[in-house]
Amino acid sequence: MQCSKIATILMPWKIKSLTDRRSEKVPKETVLKQWFEAQTDDVKAAFLVIMQHLIPLRGNGWGRPFVGQLRRECKGLFEIVVSMPDVEHRPIGYFSGEMEFTFLAFATERDNKLVPASVCETAHRLIKDIAEGKEHVRDVNF
């Protein structure tokens, strides 16, 4: 078996996030960190537990019910399902490489709709900007 294949099998998922170009920190802070820090402790706990379970998964482990594939105008994007009693949080991102997920934007879900409604449009634009070098990403460790 090739070493690269062994590494893929053994290595956990790599998590990345868009950086906030307005961040004054060096290097720039990620939008994921900013979102996380702004959440209440119960949301933080829920998100951490979900990610701690997702990251070690192999192969096609990233799917429902904790990772949702979005459709229609959101095609190509995926949501992490963070269900709380009062709010359904939906961090949005995409699979930016093999065993790699990049967080781009953050929404909530209400009545089966993402809020803000423009989150997918924003995320698609960010993917394009990342590819063109206009926006940047950083690895995020959990």
């Binding site: 956990p12 829920a46 537990v49 979900i50």
Partner: protein
Amino acid sequence: MSETLISKAGFVSKLLKSKKFRDSYCYELIRTGTSFQMRSLREERGWTQADLAQATGKPRSVITRLESPKYGKLSLASLLEIASGFDVALMVKFVPFSRLVREYEDLSPEALSAKSVSDSEEIAKLQEWATSAQRIDLVAALKRQTATQLKAIGTAMGSALRVIEGTNAGVVQRRLDFDRPRLIASESTAGASPVITREGTDTWQKIQKIS
């Protein structure tokens, strides 16, 4: 350069300062963790949700609901039924957070694995445990030794010790290796290692220094 969402130190600080975080983290490990583990155990067995439903005698819709992150009403009865469906045990135990964080440090599929009681590996482990109970008896027996006997054992300090079991016919049944039992006397004295026999049986156990 990578960013750390929350460092270990930051996590512990959060645990120590925020009861809400502590309670939520504990709750989520059970709610979310159970959902992940149920799916992992199904995949380990090549089961669909329908297969698990059949094994537990529950409707498939119930299994879907139990694996859903939106469903927060896991009951102990449901968990026991799921465990029974998988033919595994369920542990419910109050633990300090220091043990919780170590227990949940590894959440890989391997760590979440739980073999059925009919699995050959699991049977072998159970059988090994059944015979390894004798080692626990030996340690307990050693603790009951007199100071004189312990001093005799003390000649082995600094070396690995080996316990050899056998019948009175001299056949070695099992070797149990362990390093430096804490009950060994601190003084080092020359002398033969004692023979400890188990009362009421025809087996003996002997401590040997591994050379």
